[in-house]
């Protein structure tokens, strides 16, 4: 199908204002939220902005006829290249499907279109006493559809779980162009849990056109503690003490000296400028429980060597403490023109050794690294600061990042390649560090079952050159030779 025919066919589905195909209009869609050079960019043949599931399905059928790949895209805030059309084809932007269709307070659910902004859902439901718990740092811009595709996390996942724990059902356009529901309002859908397979599948199995998500009742009381420490080790010790005491905070975030120095002058959140590290510890629940637990946690921080502990219960005060954390990335502009945000997870007990390694890597590669991360669940986000105009800077940053990745997933640390950003193109060639060929074959089996022609979001997650279709997934291999080795 030539470009003119393609555009005409697409316009017939979504109207002329729903198709972008001129190079200037496509430019922004060549990127995602990552810094230039971190992920490969690519130009799609066209971007389509449908307003209904039927339109998405029609676009998918046209793409199939034209034998073009299909890439779903939310707000484009992803950092792993998931929303970039690596092999060209059609980008389906879900940004015009942005209606909150239903909020059911009794069932504690919301039915939303994929383009609804994460924060807007919570803002919409909070006056009635509910919120949507996953809260990625990009929540002012990122969409629920994108959250589902990447299985997004956020600070409050420590207590409330990640996106997959909050998705009850999905309306999905499959790669063959059918519209189906997976899961739903009633529990115990017969058969395999296809909803689980879809969440976090990086747009490779289906395009979400509606999401039925769980709403969480707003807690009766919320307390935020700010604890300052002389160094990161002290803060790490406090994290361990809190967990060992049997306290499960709603959020437990750490920021190091470099982050504090970027954030405090910009936002006046009240972080002591001379601190080596601060912890933000949020507790929520019943009023008495929160008060008592707060006193206990404050004492634990003091015992771990906190130089100051401050408690905030009033919303304005809490918001100010959080503002520093949430704006940390933006504040980095004060320190350097560019940053590369790294995302790995290590077991909580490995935080101190991992943070020491981060410090070493910063020195070895001569890159300032700020640490601002989800300490409670071991999800590290070292921020590598650089100026990409400087020759070789991007390469140096990527090399340093590579070094850290290898360290985090090494057997002695036992971490994960990505905690919440996804694999995409950014880490596709690293996935063999954590998964064997057999492990990947099982994942290829899932891909083949949903998308046998491999048209949805190609070139993602699996290593370059990996042929899902040729993996005779889990077919019997060495069958005959193995006899009599197990006890009866």
């Amino acid at each position: 199908m030539d470009q003119t025919t393609l555009v005409a066919r697409l316009e017939a589905v979504v109207g002329p204002t729903g198709v972008f195909h001129r190079p200037a209009d496509l430019l922004v869609y060549e990127y995602d939220g990552s810094v230039d050079g971190a992920v490969d960019t690519a130009r799609p043949a066209a971007v389509v902005l449908p307003t209904s599931a039927e339109q998405v399905a029609a676009v998918v059928r046209i793409a199939n006829e034209a034998e073009l790949p299909v890439v779903a895209r939310g707000a484009g805030t992803g950092l792993s290249g998931g929303a970039v059309a690596q092999r060209g084809g059609i980008i389906v932007s879900l940004s015009r499907m942005d209606r909150i269709l239903d909020v059911d307070r009794d069932d504690r659910t919301a039915l939303v279109e994929p383009g609804v902004i994460n924060l807007e859902l919570s803002e919409h439901t909070l006056p009635g006493g509910h919120f949507f718990a996953p809260d990625p740092s990009s929540q002012k811009a990122c969409t629920i559809g994108g959250n589902v595709a990447e299985n997004a996390g956020g600070p409050h996942c420590l207590k409330y779980g990640v996106t997959t724990n909050h998705v009850l059902g999905l309306e999905v356009v499959l790669p063959d162009g059918r519209i189906v529901w997976l899961g739903g309002r009633a529990a115990h859908t017969p058969g395999y849990d296809l909803t689980a397979a879809l969440v976090g599948s990086e747009g490779m199995l289906g395009i979400v056109t509606k999401a039925l998500v769980r709403l969480t009742p707003a807690p009766e009381a919320t307390l935020v503690l700010l604890a300052a420490f002389g160094d990161i080790d002290g803060a790490s010790q406090a994290v361990s003490s809190v967990i060992a005491a049997g306290v499960l905070p709603a959020a437990l975030e750490m920021m190091d000296a470099l982050t504090i120095q970027a954030v405090e002058p910009a936002y006046h959140a009240g972080y002591p400028l001379d601190a080596g590290a601060v912890l933000l510890i949020e507790l929520d629940g019943a009023t008495d429980e929160v008060r008592e637990t707060g006193e206990e946690v404050a004492a634990l921080c003091a015992a771990a060597g906190a130089t100051a502990v401050r408690a905030a219960t009033a919303k304005a005060e809490r918001d100010l403490l959080w503002k520093g954390r949430k704006m940390a990335l933006a504040a980095m502009g004060r320190l350097a023109p560019n940053y590369y945000l790294h995302d790995t997870v290590v077991p909580r007990s490995k935080l101190p050794i991992t943070l020491r390694r981060v410090g070493e890597v910063a020195r070895e590669f001569d890159i300032p690294i700020a640490n601002v991360f989800h300490a409670g669940d071991g999800n590290l986000h070292p921020l590598m600061l650089f100026d990409r105009r400087e020759r070789g800077a991007v390469e140096r940053v990527l090399a340093a990042s590579n070094e850290l990745l290898h360290f985090c997933v090494s057997p002695e640390i036992g971490g994960a390649l990505s905690g919440e950003h996804g694999i995409g193109t950014e880490k596709r060639d690293h996935i063999t560090l954590v998964y064997t060929a057999d492990d990947l074959a099982a994942m290829a089996g899932v891909k083949n079952a949903f998308d046998p022609r491999l048209t949805f979001n190609p070139e993602k997650l699996f290593p370059k050159g990996y042929m899902c279709g040729e993996v005779r997934a889990l077919r019997a291999q060495a069958l005959a030779q193995k006899h009599g080795i197990y006890a009866f």
Binding site: G191, D193, G200, G246, D288, I423, L474, Q477, Y486
Partner: protein, 429 residues
């Protein structure tokens, strides 16, 4: 914090001990009256994979076997030659209390796992019938969960990693030992509830949580179902949210049971609030008494039936729980069956009922009619257990969803020869 109990097999754990539904040890178990010719007890993941590959090459049909507490679940197998027991795979693989993560072999029994966690003040916020026999692998495969699902979800929500042996003779892993992980497709959750039809789960990793410091339960008896459901709704709406909330048929009347967890003071005020809503005549169970009451209640939902009995589970959106329960009572009346136990989970939208069939021994036509009637009043209906002869020809999972073709494609990717649990899962996969 030092690693705890790695590779340790506590006294009595995972030793060969395949038990039949009545608790007596047995050699080769039967599923729906079909006896497996042989039972193997592989001692490693690789041995499970080898046994599966052998079975494929010999054209055998295999059923994975855990504690044998849910063998009645599923359609009558198309065929059964070999049972693969996980009894020798019950080790603690890793437990890091400071990391709140645990990895155990599939054959580990739930009660043993909870006891180990309790030594460190932690738990899986999860319960299942016959926890003293039910295994971790079986519970993941069957997606069985108890009333704490209301506040804590199921094992699906706690799973962070898994290892599975496949008919191809391979062992694959997905996820890991960290609580947040988006590396690759989320296979652990896909295996949850797949009834061993994609592979045999050989080990599973979970996030665990600090055990609540205290618990108490409020029980209130009401004259009729409508009053009980109204009361339950009020309790469910309290600021101090219950960790479990059930309504059950109990002798003549209906009982509302609300369970609260937290610090002693928090539990006290929650109980006071619940009592305020439920009115006079409530009973309060404290600490161990509360725990024991719920264990008995959950054990009452064990997936097993007598020769004239059927156990069903129906699900609707939670707000329609009341009308579902009323409708089920209507179906019971119309079809000449009796209700021996009825449990409503109003926050979850499910009803589990144990029905007596006076038509026994020939209850098949009546069960067929009851299933059809229930499918008319609920979104999903599962016949959890029934006499095998009555199940023959039925799909106990109800109507398969529109995505059955995708499910079949998944099955053929993972188990092309249909070696595992042939015919037992939804759509007779």
């Amino acid at each position: 914090m030092p690693s705890e109990a790695v590779g340790r097999r506590p006294e009595g754990w995972g030793q060969a001990g395949v038990a039949s539904a009545n608790g007596r040890p047995t050699g080769a178990p039967a599923i729906d009256g079909l006896a497996a010719g042989r039972v193997l007890h592989p001692g490693s993941a690789a041995q499970v994979a080898d046994a599966l590959a052998d079975a494929v090459s010999q054209g055998l049909a295999v059923a994975p076997l855990g504690g044998g507490t849910a063998l009645a679940l599923g359609n009558v197998p198309d065929r059964l030659d070999l049972a693969l027991s996980t009894a020798a795979l019950g080790d603690v693989i890793a437990y890091e209390p400071g990391d709140l993560v645990l990895s155990v072999g599939a054959g580990a029994r739930l009660a043993d796992v909870q006891a180990l966690l309790a030594e460190h003040g932690q738990e899986l916020p999860f319960e299942a019938p016959r926890g003293d026999r039910a295994t971790i692998g079986g519970l993941v495969a069957t997606a069985i969960a108890g009333p704490r699902r209301l506040a804590n979800g199921t094992l699906r929500d706690l799973l962070i990693g898994i290892a599975v042996a496949h008919p191809s003779g391979t062992v694959t892993r997905a996820g890991g030992m960290v609580v947040k992980n988006v590396t690759g497709f989320d296979l652990p959750r896909l295996y949850h509830g797949s009834l061993g039809t994609l592979g045999v789960i050989v080990s599973a990793n979970f996030k665990v949580v600090p055990a609540p410091r205290h618990e108490a339960t409020v029980l209130a008896v009401t004259p009729d179902l409508a009053a009980a459901l109204a009361a339950a709704k009020s309790v469910g709406g309290l600021a101090s949210r219950p960790g479990a909330l059930e309504v059950m048929l109990d002798g003549e009347g209906w009982t509302v049971a609300a369970r609260f967890f937290g610090r002693p003071g928090t539990v006290d005020s929650a109980v006071a609030a619940a009592k305020g809503v439920l009115g006079e005549g409530t009973r309060r169970l404290e600490g161990a008494a509360s725990t024991a009451w719920w264990r008995r209640y959950v054990d009452g939902q064990a997936i097993e039936v007598g020769p004239d009995e059927v156990m069903v589970r129906a699900a609707v959106r939670p707000r329609d729980s009341g009308s579902l329960a009323e409708a089920i009572l209507g179906v019971i009346g119309e079809h000449g069956v009796t209700s021996r136990a009825v449990s409503v989970s109003p926050g979850l939208g499910t009803v589990v009922a144990r029905l007596g069939f006076p038509q026994a021994p020939d209850g098949a036509p009546a069960l067929r009619r009851v299933q059809r009637a229930l499918l008319g009043v609920a979104d999903h209906v599962t016949i959890l257990a029934a006499p095998p002869a009555w199940k023959a020809g039925l799909d106990v999972w109800g109507e398969p969803p529109a995505t059955l073709d995708v499910m079949r494609a998944l099955k053929s990717q993972f188990d092309p020869e249909r070696t595992l649990n042939r015919g037992r899962f939804a759509g007779h996969i």
